[in-house]
């Protein structure tokens, strides 16, 4: 490519058109070559050259950094947020419910303690700690199973088989907090499909967990998320 360009330019110089004389340009080219060395020296040496270079680097550099900042999606749009789950007072210990996060992710939240504090609850993520696939509940095997690399977890989210068990990775628990008697979970907010994915059926908590969630959840699902 470059070679062809060079030959084109030679060709151009030798055959430059009728409006200019090839002799002239050739001579001029030679003398320019000798004087260009002087130019180059002064170009680097003089203060004006330094000012010019600094100016160019600073201004275009700033412009480039602004463009770089644009590459990062707008801030303030956190991918997780504290979301209301249910009132603590109406939640019996031992019961659990299936919470569907705004992103569409299902989170099984169970109350295992009597105390009115976040530690009495656990919210398990369905994201496998190994490589991020989705685990699902296998009621016949009483385990959460990850189809990607055959990872398995017990009810508490502790890995029992597969790569997660070898690495000692448990299912991630979502942070929980209680404010004014209401339980909040820090859950993922955005799904890949945007804020309002069209797959509605998937988000109906009662439709999904008939056979695929722990027994306690099944009992609750009948109540359509209303704890009693």
């Amino acid at each position: 490519m470059i070679f062809s360009f060079v030959s084109i330019s030679r060709f151009g110089l030798m055959n430059s058109g009728q409006d200019s004389t090839s002799q002239d340009s050739a001579e001029q080219g030679d003398s320019a070559a000798s004087s260009s060395d002087d130019h180059r020296r002064s170009f680097i040496a003089t203060g004006s050259a330094v000012a010019m270079t600094t100016g160019l680097v600073a201004s275009y550099g700033t412009f480039a950094s602004m463009a770089g900042r644009f590459l990062f999606p707008a801030g303030g749009r956190r991918s997780v947020g504290w979301q209301f789950v249910a009132a603590v007072a109406s939640w019996q210990p031992g019961k659990s419910l299936e919470y569907t996060a705004p992103s569409g992710a299902t989170v099984v939240i169970a109350r295992h303690g009597e105390a009115d504090e976040a530690e009495a609850f656990i919210a398990l993520s369905s994201v496998c700690p190994h490589l991020g696939c989705r685990v699902h509940w296998e009621s016949q095997n009483d385990r959460f199973f990850c189809p990607c690399h055959n990872g398995a977890f017990d009810r508490q989210g502790v890995a029992t088989q597969g790569p997660p068990a070898k690495a000692g990775q448990s299912l991630k628990a979502y942070p929980l907090k209680i404010e004014a008697g209401l339980l909040y979970v820090e859950a993922p907010l955005h799904s890949v499909g945007g804020d309002a994915p069209t797959a509605v059926a998937q988000n109906d908590p009662s439709a999904q967990n008939d056979s695929s969630a722990p027994d306690a959840v099944q009992a609750d699902a009948v109540e359509k998320g209303r704890l009693s």
Partner: protein, 546 residues
């Protein structure tokens, strides 16, 4: 142009470019700050409500957009959380797989906002629905309209009107502030309300026959009686037995605390000729400061604690409800919690309240003391704790001295005498038991219900013009030039009819009242003046003849 010049020009241009980029950076920051104000939180649609949002975004985007601006939206509280209903709820219906109800009651809100629910239930606000049996209601139901539907006066071109709903004024006027008794249509053309359903503490109806008789539309939705819904009156009597409507102040569907903190919110009801609290506030220094300093009031703050989050000016909420540094920022949803006089009745009474939050009417001091759960002094102290954020103790005490004196003056000079005159007229059967059928009844109603309240509210919230010109001046005018002459006319008229004893009883009351020193100027001095003036008039006449 030689090379060096060009280089210098390039350097200068780079600097210009750099400066313009700095300006760009500045604009970016300004823009983001502005947007941070406009967009306070990221919105996430809770999964359970996603289908509601998707559909209603198209069918009624206003609801959804409002909701998106709410704290509910930020915290993942969507449609279902509030609108969910129990299968057994009388107004429950299946809406695309979800069991919901149209009306969200305070009981529904109490699933999360329990304290607020309790405070509100305890408040006078929640009892605003009791108006349905009061004097004012007679005014709208009978005087302004008709309890029974009636035939049109004459045809309306273009409309086929065969019957007039005489309750219209009550539905649109009274009940939109005071609250309706929510009713569902029944199959036999009747209505059922909370009275028929007899709901238990959980809000579920115990009367199942009543539930079975309700009428539903083609979508299976129970048909709410149009006289009772739409309604966001603060004392609404709901089907689940709860009283009131949270959206009376916390407008659905954004439930904006910011809005509830501003006087306009209260101004839906607390304005006009009979209780112009909002106008009174606007005239006061408090309202003037608010208008000026609104932007600095931190109205979007999560907790809006006086003395910590703002001090610029008080709004209605500040003094009557909001938290402040002297009460650990505790908000109350009982706006009567800090009020020491009730200026609602003809004669102002102190706000000694019983365990149920009702004003104690008992006169016997000992019995009274036993009944009081929360005294007016306690309430006043709570208000003073608000005042003290900006005023000194002496200042606040002296204000209350001015206010107390004003109320007592109104009570003793006009309210009690007026009440006494009306009582004797009724006792002597010179006026009927029916309200508003005699002119004097309108006169008396104007005196206490409109002018008397304007005066007292003007005094309570530092609006001199309302205290005086819209208030006491008109009270006095009404009393001296209307009430007294009208009472005398009634007495005179009855004397002519031969009911001498009754007439004298009334006249005696009037004369005794007017003989009191505070009224002496009116006729006592007039008689004196006339006696003095008579010779003078004669002299004038004589000189004119000369």
């Amino acid at each position: 142009m030689n090379l060096k010049t060009k280089q210098i020009i390039i350097a200068v241009l780079s600097a210009t470019f750099l400066i313009s980029l700095i300006f760009v950076q500045w604009m970016e920051v300004a823009l983001k700050q502005q947007e941070a104000g406009l967009r306070t939180h990221a919105i996430s649609v809770p999964a359970k409500s996603r289908s509601c949002v998707e559909c209603h975004q198209k069918s009624s985007p206003g609801i959804i957009d409002h909701w998106k601006g709410s704290t509910h939206a930020a915290k993942g509280v969507g449609c279902i959380e509030c609108h969910q209903a129990h299968q057994k709820d009388v107004d429950a219906f299946d809406h695309y797989g979800a069991t919901i109800a149209t009306i969200v009651t305070p009981l529904d809100c109490s699933r999360c906002h329990k304290t607020e629910f309790e405070e509100f239930t305890h408040s006078h606000h929640s009892k605003a629905g009791n108006i349905l049996a009061s004097l004012d209601n007679f005014l709208a139901e009978t005087v302004e309209g008709s309890r029974e539907p009636f035939n049109p006066h004459s045809p309306t071109p273009g409309r086929d009107i065969d019957i007039v709903n005489g309750m219209a004024s009550v539905n649109v006027g009274c009940r939109q502030c005071h609250g309706s008794k929510v009713a569902i249509q029944t199959l036999d053309g009747g209505l059922i309300t909370v009275d028929d359903l007899q709901p238990g503490a959980d809000g579920l109806p115990t009367n199942t026959t009543a539930v079975a008789s309700i009428k539903r539309n083609s979508d299976g939705q129970p048909i709410l009686d149009a006289a009772s819904w739409p309604n966001t009156g603060i004392g609404r009597l709901n089907l689940d037995g709860s009283r009131g409507s949270c959206s009376a102040c916390h407008s659905r569907h954004d439930f904006s605390p910011r809005r509830a903190r501003q006087p306009e919110n209260c101004g839906k009801c607390h304005l006009g000729p009979d209780h112009p609290q909002k106008e009174v506030y606007e005239e006061s220094k408090h309202g003037v400061a608010f208008r000026d300093l609104k932007e600095h009031m931190n109205l979007d703050a999560h907790d809006w604690v006086l003395g910590r989050d703002y001090t610029q000016a008080p709004t209605c909420a500040t003094c009557h409800m909001s938290g402040h540094t002297r009460n650990d920022g505790k908000v109350t949803h009982d706006p009567g919690d800090r009020i020491s006089w009730t200026n609602r009745p003809p004669v102002s009474a102190v706000m000694d309240t019983d365990a149920e939050g009702k004003v104690v009417k008992e006169k016997d001091p000992e019995k009274r003391l036993a009944l009081i759960a929360d005294s007016w002094q306690q309430k006043r102290q709570r208000m003073k704790n608000v005042c003290l954020h900006c005023h000194t103790n002496n200042y606040v005490n002296a204000f209350y001295k001015q206010y107390d004196d004003f109320v007592v003056n109104y009570n003793e000079k006009f309210a009690k005498p007026g009440q006494k005159i009306m009582a004797v007229l009724r006792e002597q059967k010179l006026i009927t038991a029916t309200q508003f059928d005699e002119e004097i009844e309108w006169t008396w109603f104007y005196l206490w219900h409109h002018e008397g309240r304007r005066a007292r509210h003007g005094a309570s919230m530092m609006a001199p013009d309302y205290a005086h010109w819209h208030g006491m001046f008109e009270v006095a005018d009404r009393f001296y030039t209307k009430l007294i002459p009208q009472a005398r006319e009634i007495a005179e008229h009855s004397r002519e009819e031969g009911r001498r004893a009754e007439a004298e009883a009334v006249e005696k009351v009037i004369e005794e009242l007017l003989a009191r020193p505070e009224h002496e100027w009116y006729e006592g001095l007039k008689k004196l003046d006339e006696a003095k003036r008579l010779p003078a008039v004669k002299e004038e006449k004589e000189s004119a003849e000369n």
